[in-house]
C-alpha cells in the first residue's frame, strides 16, 4: 500500500486521554464541544492546547454543561462539521437524552468516554456503569484496552460513523484512571494529514444548508415513527461489517488492527474468559501462570459492545466448555447482572448453544482486581463445572460481607 510508506510514526509516552486528543487532532476534527469532568478532562485540555498552538484548526466550544456539549455537537454535526466531544460518568448521564437524539438524527458524532462509576455515593474511579447505560441509545460502542488502541479507534470511529451504511454516532470507551491517566508508549503519526485518505472530509449525511433547505427533527406520529427506529436497527446491523472493514483497511494502511473480538487460545479451551477494557491486560498476565500449570484457558476481549458481536461470541463459546464473563458494571435487579454476560447468554440461546456461562462482577468503583483474584475465580469456576453447577445468579466477587 502506497500510504503505508507515507506514514511515519513517532513513539510518544501518552496517557489514553492524551492519545485520544492526539487522534482528534489527526482526524482533523472541525468542532469540539466539551465540559470538564474527571477523569476525562485532560483530553479536552490537550485538544485546547493543540488549537491554541495552531496544530489543530477547529472551533472549541467551552459549553456550560455536558447536556450542552452534546447539543452543540449535534448542531455542529448537523451542518456537516466533523465533531468530537468527550465525557465520563455523570456527564454522560446528563447527555443521555441527547444520545438518543444524536443517533435518531443519524449524526456521525464521535465521543470518547473515560469509563467511570456512577454516583451515589460519589465515586470518581473507574468502572463501566456509565458506558453500559448507553447500550440502548443506538450509539456504536467501542471499548479500547490500550492507549494505542484508543488512538487508532478514534480515527477508525470517524470512518465508521461517516459511512452511509451507518450514519450513527460512535463512542470510544476506555478505563477511567487505569487507562485515562496511565502512560504507555503510543505510536502516533508524525504528520497530521496521514489519515486524510482513510477518513476523507465528505459529509454525506443530511445537513442544514440554505441552498437545499431540509427539516431535521420533525415530529413523527405513530404511523411514521417505527420505520425510523427500524432504520437504526438496520444501520446497527450494517455497522458490524463496517467496523470490521474499517479495522481491516486501517490494518492494511497503517499496520495495526484489532478485530472485533481479540482472542487467544479459545480453540479447545476448558474455560474461556471474556472481558473488556483495560482488565484484559491483567487477565492475560494472570492466565500465564495458570497455563504454565497446563490449564486449557481461552481469552476473549470484546472490542465492540454495540452492535454486539453475537455470532462471533457464539463461535468462541462453541469452542470452549464454559465461559467466564468478567463485567465491570451491574444491571440491578436481575439474577445475571453482568451486562455483557447477559448479551452472551442471549447470543448462545439464539444459536441453540448449551454452555455454562459464569457471570462475575468485578472492579466496581475501581475495586482492585489482581492476578490472585483471577486465579481464584478460575478455581471457583472449575469447582462449579465439576459439580455441574449451573450459575443461578452473578457472583459479586470480593464484596465484603
Amino acid at each position: 500500500m502506497e500510504s503505508v510508506l507515507k506514514v511515519t510514526w513517532k513513539r510518544l509516552p501518552l496517557s489514553t486521554n492524551f492519545a485520544i486528543a492526539q487522534a482528534v487532532k489527526d482526524s482533523d476534527v472541525d468542532v469540539v464541544s466539551a465540559y470538564p469532568i474527571t477523569p476525562q478532562t485532560t483530553v479536552v485540555e490537550r485538544i485546547s492546547e493543540f488549537i491554541a498552538n495552531g496544530e489543530l484548526k477547529a472551533e472549541m466550544i467551552h459549553v456550560e454543561s455536558e447536556h450542552s456539549a452534546m447539543s452543540a455537537a449535534i448542531g455542529a454535526s448537523a451542518v456537516g462539521a466533523r465533531t468530537f466531544t468527550a465525557t465520563a460518568a455523570q456527564g454522560l448521564e446528563l447527555m443521555h437524552e441527547l444520545l438518543h437524539i444524536a443517533s435518531g438524527l443519524r449524526l456521525p458524532i464521535v465521543m470518547s468516554v473515560a469509563a467511570r462509576a456512577l454516583s451515589a455515593p460519589l465515586s470518581i474511579w473507574g468502572d463501566y456503569s456509565d458506558v453500559m447505560n448507553v447500550r440502548d441509545t443506538s450509539w456504536i460502542i467501542i471499548i479500547a484496552s490500550t492507549a494505542q488502541e484508543a488512538y487508532d479507534s478514534v480515527i477508525q470511529a470517524y470512518r465508521i460513523a461517516e459511512d452511509p451504511r451507518v450514519f450513527l454516532p460512535v463512542l470510544v470507551a476506555y478505563d477511567g484512571y487505569a487507562m485515562s491517566h496511565t502512560y504507555e508508549p503510543v505510536y502516533v503519526s508524525e504528520k497530521s494529514d496521514a489519515f486524510k485518505d482513510y477518513i476523507p472530509k465528505n459529509p454525506r449525511w443530511y445537513t442544514l444548508n440554505p441552498e437545499k433547505p431540509i427539516t431535521m427533527g420533525a415530529m413523527a406520529s405513530p404511523e411514521w415513527f417505527y420505520e425510523f427506529k427500524y432504520q437504526q436497527v438496520v444501520a446497527m446491523k450494517n455497522a458490524l461489517d463496517v467496523v470490521k472493514e474499517a479495522d481491516d483497511e486501517y490494518g492494511k494502511r497503517y499496520e495495526r488492527k484489532y478485530g472485533i473480538i481479540e482472542e487467544e487460545g479459545v480453540e479447545g479451551s476448558d474455560i474461556t474468559f471474556v472481558t473488556y477494557g483495560g482488565l484484559y491486560g491483567t487477565l492475560k498476565e494472570s492466565i500465564e501462570e495458570l497455563r504454565k500449570k497446563g490449564e486449557q484457558i481461552g481469552l476473549a476481549r470484546i472490542r465492540l459492545f454495540r452492535p454486539f458481536p453475537s455470532e462471533m461470541l457464539a463461535d468462541i463459546a462453541e469452542k470452549a466448555k464454559a465461559l467466564v464473563v468478567l463485567d465491570r458494571a451491574i444491571t440491578f435487579g436481575v439474577n445475571i447482572s453482568g451486562p455483557v454476560a447477559r448479551e452472551i447468554i442471549s447470543s448462545l440461546y439464539a444459536r441453540g448453544i448449551e454452555r455454562n456461562v459464569y457471570s462475575f462482577i468485578v472492579g466496581i468503583g475501581q475495586r482492585t482486581v489482581t492476578e490472585k483474584d483471577i486465579i481464584a475465580i478460575y478455581e471457583k469456576v472449575k469447582e462449579m463445572l465439576a459439580s455441574h453447577e449451573r450459575q443461578k445468579e452473578s457472583i459479586y466477587w470480593g464484596v465484603r460481607e
Binding site: 472541525d30 468542532v31 464541544s33 484548526k57 477547529a58 472551533e59 466550544i61 467551552h62 459549553v63 456550560e64 454543561s65 447536556h67 450542552s68 456539549a69 447539543s71 452543540a72 455537537a73 449535534i74 448542531g75 455542529a76 454535526s77 448537523a78 451542518v79 456537516g80 462539521a81 465533531t83 437524552e97 441527547l98 437524539i101 438524527l105 472530509k201 442544514l208 444548508n209 440554505p210 433547505p213 431540509i214 427539516t215 431535521m216 427533527g217 420533525a218 415530529m219 413523527a220 406520529s221 411514521w224
Partner: protein, 317 residues
C-alpha cells in the same frame, strides 16, 4: 442619531414567504404572524433552531414541514446550545474553506417561554456568555401552552393556568413574571429588545438589528395565545397592541448598552382594557386590577426615569 428604520410601512415588507401555510397552529395563533414576519426579515440564508413547543410541533408533523429554510429541532432545553454548535461549525468550515467564507448565514434560535425562562435558561446564558453570533427569539405566550397551559416563569402574576387554578384560597399565579429580557441584557450582549406583533414594523426592525449585530442578540416577543389566554381568536393583535397601550408590555431595546423605548405611548390606557378581553384574568376583582395598575404606574415611572424623559404618558382612559 439613530439610523432610519429599515421597515417603516407595510410596503417595505418583502413579499416572499418562508413559512408555508398548512401548519397546525391554532386559528388566530399570533406565533404564526411572528414567525412569518421573522422569516421575511431573515430571508433564505438562514438556519432556524427551534425548541420543543407549539411552533415546533405544529409546523413539522412528518412528512410535512412549513419551513422553507433549513430547520432543526433537537430538544426542549438546549436550543441555544444547538445554535452555538451550528455557529461554531460554520465558522470552522469557513476557516477551512469547506463553505464560502463570504457567505453570511443567519442563525436563529426560536423558543417559547418554557424553553427560555425555565428549562432552556442555562443553555441560553452559556450561549450569551460565549458570544455566539446567534439571534435568539423568544415567543412568549406566558405559559406551557403546548402541554396544555401550565404556568411558567413567564406567566404573569394573577394569571389563571391549569397549574395555577383559581381556587378558594389561591387565585391564579402567585409569583411575578421573571424579567427575562433584563436578565439577558445583564449579560451585556450587543442587542436586546422586546417587541410585539401589534407593532409589526418595530418588531421587524428589531429582528433586522438582531441579525446584523456581531454577537448574540435577543428579541423577546409577546405572543398572545387565544387558547391559553382565553380570548376570541380575532383579538390576538388587538391584545398585543393593548399590552403596549396599557404599558403592561413596553417595547424597548438596548443596543450596545444604550436603552431606549421604541414605541412611545403618549396616552396610556388602563390595564382593565387588557384584562377584560381575557378569560385567564376573569377572576380579577376591581381591587386586584387597581393593585396591578399601581404596579404598572411605578414601572412606567421607572422606565421614564431610565430614558430621561416621558416616553410612556399618563393614564388617560
Amino acid at each position: 442619531m439613530m439610523a432610519k428604520p429599515y421597515f417603516r410601512t407595510v410596503y417595505d415588507v418583502p413579499r416572499e414567504e418562508y413559512l408555508a401555510p398548512g401548519h397546525g397552529l391554532c386559528a388566530g395563533c399570533t406565533a404564526g404572524t411572528i414567525v412569518k414576519l421573522l422569516l421575511k426579515v431573515a430571508g433564505p440564508n438562514t438556519i432556524v433552531v427551534n425548541a420543543t413547543g407549539c411552533v415546533e410541533v405544529s409546523t413539522t408533523p412528518f412528512p410535512y414541514t412549513s419551513w422553507k429554510v433549513p430547520w432543526i429541532h433537537v430538544a426542549f432545553e438546549n436550543t441555544a446550545a444547538v445554535a452555538s454548535g451550528i455557529e461554531s461549525a460554520l465558522k470552522a468550515l469557513k476557516a477551512k474553506g469547506m463553505i464560502d467564507p463570504a457567505k453570511r448565514i443567519n442563525i436563529i434560535a426560536l423558543a417559547g417561554d418554557g424553553g427560555t425562562y425555565d428549562i432552556g435558561f442555562q443553555a441560553l446564558s452559556g450561549m450569551l456568555e460565549r458570544g455566539h453570533k446567534v439571534m435568539y427569539v423568544l415567543y412568549d405566550n406566558e405559559a406551557y401552552m403546548n402541554t396544555g397551559i401550565q404556568r411558567s416563569g413567564g406567566t404573569p402574576e394573577y394569571a389563571w393556568t391549569t397549574t395555577t387554578p383559581v381556587g378558594k384560597i389561591l387565585k391564579g399565579k402567585v409569583q411575578q413574571k421573571k424579567p427575562i429580557a433584563e436578565i439577558v441584557a445583564a449579560h451585556r450582549i450587543p442587542y436586546v429588545a422586546t417587541a410585539n406583533p401589534g407593532y409589526f414594523a418595530d418588531m421587524m426592525n428589531k429582528f433586522k438589528k438582531g441579525l446584523e449585530v456581531e454577537g448574540p442578540s435577543f428579541v423577546h416577543v409577546l405572543q398572545p395565545c387565544t387558547t391559553g389566554w382565553k380570548f376570541d381568536p380575532r383579538y390576538g393583535i388587538v391584545l398585543a397592541r393593548l399590552a403596549t397601550e396599557t404599558a403592561l408590555w413596553i417595547n424597548w431595546q438596548q443596543e450596545e448598552g444604550q436603552f431606549s423605548v421604541t414605541v412611545s405611548v403618549p396616552r396610556r390606557k388602563h390595564v382593565k382594557h387588557y384584562f377584560e378581553l381575557q378569560g385567564r384574568f376573569s377572576h380579577l376583582t376591581e381591587e386586584d386590577i387597581e393593585k396591578i395598575q399601581k404596579e404598572v404606574d411605578l414601572e412606567v415611572d421607572r422606565i421614564n426615569k431610565l430614558v430621561g424623559r416621558t416616553v410612556i404618558g399618563p393614564l388617560v382612559e
